[in-house]
Subunit: 320 residues, 2 copies
């Protein structure tokens, strides 16, 4: 697959996360990480922000390849990469990366994906494709048969993979709804107008999942019960937020599990470990088996996979 | 029912709407209206705000009864009235109004309602009960048999009435979701970061309703298509907002229409006329018949109905 040092940058709307990685005979190692502002905040100084974030590593390591994924490849980012239409395999994504030089470093930018999802609606992703590639690369078994990858986050992506090919995906704005409803809606609004720290309450989360599981088709009519339940039980905003989280994650998972297109089988949940556990709880309650994978690791494996495909492309070009 | 002049005040979280009304032999007439700040903004000066808003009328008419409904009867309002548990009839609500004197004027405050809704979840309303009472009082036929009253607004209330008795209701936060998602989410976010005026596009609204009608159980997985559709069609934020409105209203209506508890029959949609028309469009697409009623008029009829019940109570007390 190749060896050497590279810097992988997962650069979304609201955050930059850079990883200094070493790819050696014993596999991939993350040596250090740094964070920085998202493309929205950095939009007028993308290049300066990037090199500011990785400056100490460049001082130590000299010229290293930079791999970028996420909204940095959108109109609010550095360069706008067109979406690739599904179905796609890893080699398609790798060959369609934008490749250019910046301040003496080779830069690869990973394109996002477009599809018509299983509801017949247009759908889009930018950044999550990296984790799917990493998850696929981490175990050859993942590339066999039909697999479902769930990527929880601001926007949950339910990805259908068949024999290593990303066929389609469907987005739910579950995480964003949670943030909007806890920050801006009346659902948790304390009558005193006070802001409160939202301490997670696992029992209330389970209660929310249970309500969502019981009334699978009624998500739109469940959310207000967050407020009514809080008024009735005089519970804390943290308890109400946990219940709301359970409702939203439960409804998101139930909507997928009840879909005709989904046949029973283990779902791979890839993302931030605590959030993945919440999804695993909900999927378990709904009778769907799942396995949890670390999303940060999957992203790095995705970068490494792309480097490997790029190296193979070069070798082929040289051989022919 | 009684005659005379009164001031009805529908005083919610974000707005006060006062109506000077005359109840005579030819029925109820609204003579003038004034608006003012909601209880949230006025909370530290409720009485001053109220009398400031109605001052010109008092100068002309002297001492008149004041009828208040909405969040003014909550902990963020003037006095906290406990919720009445459903089922209730108009006479129950009338007899449980808070009655006191302020600056020489008799004040009646209408209590909100609590229930366990048809999904088995606790539910609450404060203010909308007035429109249900008004709708019931406006036609004796409305008090016969099982009737569904839909009150669209920030929070849609789906009210079940049986033989003039408010049995239960279910809340959907449809309007609030629309506001949150258009203002704060990525769904409409222009990549340029610009704010845009959202011009209603009836065709895009219909498209949203159609998608919601096709995928009734999948509301959680439909919302992101607002963004994907906008990206794909390069459509305006107004078009995207109209599509989102269609999705949300369509999903709200479908969730109710598909409910086991709902048997076919005409639904009374009571509220702001344009919003009612949008709900009527969605209900029509879903095969549910409906009739639209003006919500402001229903609220005034509700106040008049309460005054009538109070007068009858007094007459009974005198007679006994």
């Amino acid at each position: 697959v190749g060896t050497g040092t590279f810097i992988g940058v997962d650069w979304g709307t609201s955050r930059l996360r850079a990883s200094l990685c070493k790819l050696g005979s014993e596999g991939l190692r993350e040596i250090a990480t740094r964070t920085g502002p998202g493309v929205l905040a950095a939009r007028d100084s993308i290049e300066d922000t990037l090199f500011g974030a990785i400056q100490p590593w460049i001082a130590d390591h000299g010229t290293v390849p930079l791999l970028l994924a996420g909204m940095v490849g959108s109109p609010i980012g550095w360069r706008t990469l067109p979406y690739l239409d599904c179905p796609v395999v890893a080699a398609d994504i790798s060959s369609r990366c934008a490749s250019f030089v910046s301040r003496g470093h080779s830069v690869l930018m990973v394109p996002g994906l477009a599809c018509v999802n299983d509801l017949g609606l247009p759908d889009r992703m930018r950044g999550e494709e990296l984790q799917v590639l990493g998850w696929l690369a981490s175990d050859p078994a993942h590339g066999v048969g039909k697999r479902i990858v769930c990527l929880p986050g601001t926007h949950t992506k339910w990805v259908t993979v068949r024999d290593g090919r990303i066929v389609s995906f469907c987005t739910a704005i579950t995480g964003e709804l949670y943030t909007l409803l806890t920050r801006h809606s009346v659902l948790l609004a304390l009558d005193s107008g006070a802001q409160a720290e939202l301490v997670f309450d696992p029992d209330e989360f389970d209660a929310g999942v249970e309500v969502a599981a019981q009334h699978r088709a009624a998500a739109m009519h469940l959310l207000f019960s967050t407020r009514s339940r809080m008024l009735k039980r005089a519970s804390s905003p943290g308890a109400a937020a946990s219940y709301l989280s359970g409702l939203l994650i439960g409804a998101d998972c139930a909507t997928f599990v009840d879909r005709g297109a989904y046949a029973a089988g283990s779902i791979a949940v890839v993302g931030e470990p605590e959030l993945c556990r919440h999804f695993a709880t909900a999927l378990g309650r709904l009778g769907a088996a799942c396995e949890v994978f670390d999303g940060k690791r999957a992203a790095l494996d995705g970068f490494a996979d792309i480097l490997g495909h790029r190296a193979a492309m070069r070798d082929e070009a040289v051989a022919s």
